[in-house]
Symmetry: C2
Subunit: 196 residues, 2 copies
């Protein structure tokens, strides 16, 4: 033991974060200790604040500090569109593009037969509730283009026969080079070609 | 803004840690919020403890919770050897190998003409003090095999003409394949060859 038990605990916990391992956790902890007053203390404080206040929005599953998140509270965002995403990270990614002006619904994962995750393990019943009670005109499925994501999209679309259900376009990403794209993306882009 | 100011601050601060960027900081924060009682709160607590207690050892520069670190306090480690390292991370790396039984001295960096770091910006005067006052028989220079590290090693060796000064051996790392080693390492290993 070259360092105290608390330091050891801190390193072990940091190493559990996604993207960090034992070595990078040690580096991060030493960096924080070097900048104790600028980084370690404020970080501990804000973590404690977030731990005390962060909660899931009861309506959509976004992370916020109130029972209803800012998007669900904003009347402006009640434009009849609801965008269904897997995770809060996906909601944030959509928001960063600043294009979508409606509300969201975070499923909290995808259907998965292997992991025994059915509709009731996700926020799907709550989505159907919302579609009944809020005035929804269009459901936009922004699920990941993975097998589980697409299975979940099909399941949700099947539950909503009377509603306009759309999904994100698939094709060549902006700045993408054809030579580096996989066959599936190229054939999807070709099938969905548009007049120029 | 899709999330609260505190969340934003937490993500910004996490993104400043080495090895994390904005995207991995968002992932880490969402992960912590999902495991709030298991990870976020305990992590905040232990960070606050470490922020309150962590300090540099007055003798060697190691990080600990007391004025003198565990190694400097242990009489067993006073075997006359002092191992000079650049950083606390290097000290920890040496300790993990469990071979060295003496004490350490953390310089806190390397001499660098470009960055205007001279001996007085490092813990070199304190090292010379320690060599005068503690009973030191051997100084082991365990500095990185970089140009700045080796410059610093030569500078320190020049200050200690009457003492045994050694440095870590250079050669083929354990498990290393010759085909993947750089020319410098191979020629160093060849020059330092030993009878088999």
């Amino acid at each position: 033991m070259t360092h105290s038990a608390d330091l050891e605990t801190l390193i072990d916990m940091m190493a559990k974060l996604p993207g960090l391992g034992p070595r990078s956790a040690r580096r991060a902890v030493l960096h924080m200790i070097k900048k104790k007053s600028l980084l370690l203390s404020p970080l501990a404080d804000v973590m404690q604040t977030v731990a005390a206040t962060a909660r899931e929005c009861l309506n959509c599953g976004n992370v916020g500090t109130t029972d209803l998140c800012e998007i669900c509270e904003s009347e402006k965002r009640a434009n009849g569109q609801i965008c269904v995403v897997e995770d809060v990270a996906d909601l944030w990614a959509m928001e960063r593009s600043r294009v979508f002006k409606g509300r969201y619904h975070v499923l909290g994962g995808t259907l998965s037969a292997l992991d025994a995750i059915g509709p009731d393990e996700l926020r799907i019943p709550r989505l159907l509730d919302r579609i009944r009670t809020e005035e929804i005109s269009e459901v936009i499925l922004a699920l990941n283009a993975t097998i589980d994501g697409q299975t979940t999209a099909h399941y949700i679309a099947d539950q909503l026969p009377d509603l306009e259900v759309t999904s994100l376009a698939q094709g060549v990403p902006i700045g993408g080079e054809l030579d580096y794209l996989d066959d599936g993306t190229i054939s999807a882009a070709l099938n969905a070609r548009k007049s120029f």
